[in-house]
């Protein structure tokens, strides 16, 4: 659940709780207060009634041991005096109760005061009732009102909270989106500050920026290191290789030493190739290549096919070119050549004798894609995951594999914004797909 929604829900819930609590409190206190008022009035009436017991009207009833009842027109009040069994000591205690009584076909709820008293050697039960209809009505009005307020408050707070938290958290989501999600290369990081008045977000923004600065500094340092080391190593290699070549010119050399010289030259060459590959990767990653060429993919493929024809024949491979489109991209021609060369060369290298290589392309929604599929030894998922790592190589008979071919491929595809996907089934074959979906 999003933070924004969580905050809004929390706010709503607390508000609901507060309103419910206050509503309940008001309801209870209103009941209490109005009962209190009624009871005070009833007490006064009781006193008045007891004082007027000797009045003739009542007295006649009492003398006849009859029930005396009296009520006003709207039946809001009633008084009954009922003779009960004689008790010498009446407690004189006054009790209150809420009861529904039928007064002349009308059912009403009354707050009733009950009191036993002795008069002229008789015990009577005095009951004075006052309707609490108005109180109940008030209570129900308050109940309805509370519910209404509750509902409106609920809707209003939910909306206002959502809007406000959205406004409040906008810089936060902006930071996440621009500074974390959309960053795939620390070199192209956007250091521009996100506008916010929230200190916490400013802190977050600054922290991410300074972290990214550190990372990109390390990145630059690493690239410089590779470039410097590679460059400074090339001259000594040059000297050693020349020296060995000169030693080979001396004819008195034994066959054994001559072989060792050549082996050393070969090792030096390997060293040179590795350094050159690392240099190439570092240069590509440092954007030291020009992207000014219009490179026609089909043309490059044709060129590479011609270059590699002998190797294809040697392994008795079937090379099928199914390219349907003439597609050109803006880029660096030598690099594109290297890219496709490395992929096709791999599909030859890891192929089985009499296997096949198929090159096909398609154009969907203006997105061009080219697939180089072979029937070679294939890779397992774990191998695919590691395929682009430097110095990662697989079991192969080839002596000249340094495990840098696909690392170069990766850097060139990144340089040209090409999406590369490898599909492979062990012992069935590998398909490398280049998707040109980010061309400017």
């Amino acid at each position: 659940m999003k933070l924004q929604v969580k905050l809004a829900l929390y706010n709503t819930l607390t508000k609901v709780a507060i309103i419910l609590f206050t509503g309940l409190l008001i309801l209870l206190s209103i009941e209490k207060i109005s009962y209190n008022h009624i009871e005070v009035r009833l007490e006064e009436k009781k006193e008045a009634t007891l004082r007027s017991l000797s009045s003739r009207e009542i007295n006649s009833f009492l003398a006849a041991q009859k029930v005396y009842t009296d009520y006003n027109i709207l039946k809001e009040e009633f008084i009954t005096i009922t003779p009960v069994k004689y008790e010498a000591n009446t407690p004189g205690k006054v009790t209150f109760s809420t009861e529904t009584r039928k007064v002349e076909r009308n059912m009403e709820t009354y707050r009733i005061l009950s009191n036993r008293f002795n008069f002229n050697e008789h015990t009577y039960l005095l009951e004075i009732g006052e309707t609490i209809e108005s109180v109940e009505e008030l209570k129900s009005i308050i109940k309805k009102f509370t519910l209404l307020v509750l509902f409106i408050a609920l809707v209003l707070t939910l909306i206002s909270d959502l809007v406000f938290t959205k406004f409040l958290l906008a810089p936060f989501y902006k930071i996440i989106d621009r500074k974390l999600i959309k960053v795939n290369d620390p070199m192209n990081f956007d250091y521009e500050k996100i506008q916010t008045t929230t200190q916490d977000f400013e802190l977050l923004d600054d922290s991410i920026s300074s972290l990214m600065k550190k990372i990109s500094n390390l990145f630059i340092l690493e690239k410089q290191f590779i470039a410097n080391v590679s460059h400074e190593l090339l001259t000594p290699i040059s000297i050693i290789s020349s020296r060995l070549e000169n030693i080979l010119l001396h004819e008195e050399l034994s066959e054994g030493s001559e072989n060792k010289m050549h082996a050393s030259l070969k090792t030096l060459n390997r060293l040179k190739s590795i350094i050159n590959s690392l240099l190439l990767i570092s240069k590509v990653e440092n954007n030291q290549f020009d992207k000014g060429d219009m490179v026609m993919i089909a043309g490059v493929i044709k060129e590479i096919h011609e270059e590699l024809e002998d190797r294809i024949d040697e392994k008795h491979l079937t090379f099928t070119n199914h390219l349907k489109y003439i597609y050109s991209i803006q880029g660096n021609r030598p690099l594109m050549h290297t890219l496709l060369f490395n992929i096709i060369n791999n599909s030859i290298k890891y192929n089985t004798t009499k296997g096949s290589i198929t090159i096909s392309d398609d154009l969907n929604d203006d997105i061009y894609a080219i697939t180089i599929a072979d029937t070679g030894i294939g890779m397992e998922q774990k191998q695919i995951d590691n395929a682009f790592n430097r110095f990662e190589k697989f079991d192969t008979d080839e002596k000249e594999s340094y495990g840098l071919g696909l690392a170069i491929v990766k850097s060139i595809t990144a340089f040209h914004n090409i999406n590369i996907k490898i599909n492979s089934v062990k012992n069935k074959g590998t398909a490398v797909k280049l998707i040109f979906d980010n061309q400017v």
Partner: protein, 225 residues
Amino acid sequence: MNVLIVEDEKGLALEVDEFLSHEGFTVEHARTKKSAEEKIFVNNYDFILLDLGLPDGDGFDLLKMLKGLEKRDDAVIILTARGAVDDRVMGLEQGADDYLAKPFSLSELLARMHAITRRKHRLESNDINIKGLRVNIQNRTVMYNDERINLTKKEFEIFNYLVLNKNRVISRTNLTEHVWGDVLEINSDSNFVDVHVKNLRKKLSQYIPIDWFETVRSIGYRINI
């Protein structure tokens, strides 16, 4: 033929010197831009091997200066560890005859120098004669009597390189690099050369016996004349 090596790295200059002297060149050596300027100003050279990164300046300046001099036909081969594509293009645009990235093999250097010589002195001896086979670098052909031997581009390159470096063992690695040239294509493997050599031999042996075309076990090939 005289050669000026402009190279601040003494070790490398000495090795190139030794190799070229052995091949019959007269070699001079300049370690700074200043001393190279003086030498170029005073002498004509058949070849100037020019390092770009000199302690007191850029080799390109020397190239510009040389091209500014009248009646000079010194061939310039740029030798550099910079290896940038831009450098190569710029060097050739400014009138260098060739460009070699360090580390280079001496036999490659020699082959390039021979190629330049033949290009420049076109009218004199265009063809190299090997046991009745005529190798023409300009047209990239090999003829036997008047019949053209049908070689592929790579087969010609290999044969030409071995011929230019005759009597010397040329390793597969060296050949691969010469034929494939571009440093970018490091994935090419040296055994691949064998296929081309096999085909080349088959084609040549249809015309003349080729016992002079030797395989040196586990190393490479040699043309022995």
